[in-house]
């Protein structure tokens, strides 16, 4: 059931990014919000829960986007490794960490995108619009990253409560 929850959230976020975000002008510069979800998973969930979700969401994003195949999957794996590494050093509930970690994630993601594009020889080196987009995404991440991570944790908490209330009770009654 937890996997189902994560997959549904990932799908909702992908749909939001592809169908809702383009309709809302002020959201045009926002970063890939799945980044925040992957970071949330990295902070608060076990590896066996996270890896299949990273695999699924990475493949979904790779197939729906115009980027080179495997780019999102690679980025999400790096983000996961980064989050795990950081949580070894700093407590996952640290507010300063929560404030900056999505921003750091977005910087890494941007670095991977630009690096890949340069490696493939398709881009001019850092034209001004690239830097504008990167900066805008960074600011969005600093402004909303901590809120999103907290929100994801909150709705997952609600899900856990519902799960325990209904499914566990039903299975107890059935037993």
């Amino acid at each position: 059931m937890t996997y189902l929850f994560h997959i549904v959230v990932c799908l909702v976020l992908v749909i939001f990014q592809t169908a809702v975000k383009p309709q809302v002008l002020f959201l045009g510069g926002i970063y890939d919000v799945l980044t925040a979800y992957i970071i949330y998973l990295g902070l608060f969930h076990r590896v066996r829960e996270i890896l299949p979700i990273i695999l699924i969401s990475g493949v979904i994003m790779d197939t729906i986007s115009g980027g080179p195949m495997g780019l999102f999957l690679t980025t999400y794996l790096w983000l996961f490794l980064l989050t795990r590494g950081i949580t070894r050093l700093i407590n996952q509930d640290n507010l300063v960490l929560r404030f900056f970690i999505v921003g750091i994630g977005v910087v890494i993601q941007t670095g991977v995108y630009i690096g890949t594009t340069l490696l493939l020889g398709n881009a001019t080196l850092f034209p001004a619009p690239t830097l504008n987009v990167a900066l805008t995404q960074m600011l969005w991440a600093l402004g909303t990253g901590a809120i999103l991570v907290t929100f994801f944790r909150y709705i997952h908490g609600i899900w856990e409560v519902l799960l325990n209330t209904y499914f566990v009770r039903e299975s107890a009654q059935g037993g």
Binding site: V14, Q17, T18, A19, K21, P22, G28, G29, D32, L34, M61, T63, I64, S65, G66, G67, P68, Y113, T117, L120, N122, A123, T124, P127, A128, P129, T130, V133, Q137
Partner: protein, 277 residues
């Protein structure tokens, strides 16, 4: 001599006659003074006050109800206005969609091959890549490699197809390339996507004559886009990049932020539309 009963009857008769006579005499005049006038003067102010109050209360009541009715009517009129505006917006949208369709149909006449009408239903999830998802797939005979157009010019090409949907790589994506010509001088080059919804025209020899404002059209040599389709116009000529080639910035005719409906051109392509040379 007379019975008591007869006396009573006669008495009553005379009383009635006397009463009639008195009333007929009194009713012929309107007293302006005397006890009648005094009574009226005494009572009339109270009557006037009560009548006035009554009128005031009645007026208040009537106005209150009127206000309630007017308020209700106002609410209804507001609702009707909102509905009318909604309908007007719907008609304006329908008219604009109709205009767009007509223009799409118009460009459809330039081609001998079949065109598939499609709508944009999704966009790339990140700002780094430029693709759109359309609502036509292989069940609608859409296949990978087919060119996608709008009346203003080339949009891109199909890069991925499922049953009912397909992914279009826009010409402004960094992975996109279209073989192109400068329309005025027929100088050949390759239009590649750049980041900020613009393209660059590469591999145009320096010996060629190119100017800012020159129109760029597809050459047809890439076997994807038919020859002569508009792409954009030259915005900037950068001379310092290479000794052999120009690097030209091209602004596409298509506004990729406003893509709604588009046409997929089913291959094989044959007739070059509107090629003026």
């Amino acid at each position: 001599m007379f019975s008591k009963k007869t006396v009573v009857i006669i008495g009553v008769f005379f009383l009635i006659i006397a009463n009639i006579l008195i009333l007929s005499v009194i009713s012929q005049r309107y007293p302006t003074s005397g006890p009648g006038g005094f009574t009226i003067s005494l009572l009339a102010p109270f009557q006037e006050a009560i009548a006035g109050s009554s009128r005031f209360v009645k007026g208040l009541w009537r106005h209150y109800f009127n206000l309630v009715l007017v308020s209700e009517e106002n609410d209804q009129l507001k609702k009707q206005l909102a509905r009318a505006q909604e309908m007007k917006n719907g008609w304006v949208e329908a008219r604009m969609a109709n205009d767009r369709m007509r223009r799409l149909m118009d460009i459809g006449r330039d081609f001998s091959q079949e065109l598939v009408y499609a709508e944009v239903i999704g966009r790339d999830p990140t700002a780094w890549f430029k693709t759109v998802i359309i609502n036509k797939g292989y069940k609608d005979s859409v296949a990978v490699g087919m060119p996608v157009l709008v009346p203003e010019g080339i949009v891109g090409q199909i890069v991925d197809v499922s049953g009912r949907y397909a992914k279009v790589l826009l010409i402004v994506d960094q992975n996109s390339a279209v073989d192109a010509l400068v329309q005025r001088t027929r100088a050949r080059g390759l239009v590649k996507g750049e980041f900020a919804d613009q393209c660059r025209l590469e591999f145009v020899l320096r010996k060629e004559d190119v100017q800012v404002g020159d129109a760029i059209v597809s050459s047809g040599l890439d076997n994807v886009f038919p020859k002569g389709l508009p792409i954009g116009k030259i915005k900037e000529v950068a001379a310092e990049t290479s000794e052999m080639f120009y690097t030209l910035t091209v602004v596409p005719h298509v506004d990729f932020e406003k893509l709604e409906e588009l046409l997929v051109l089913r291959t094989p392509m044959d007739v070059p539309p509107g090629d003026d040379k």
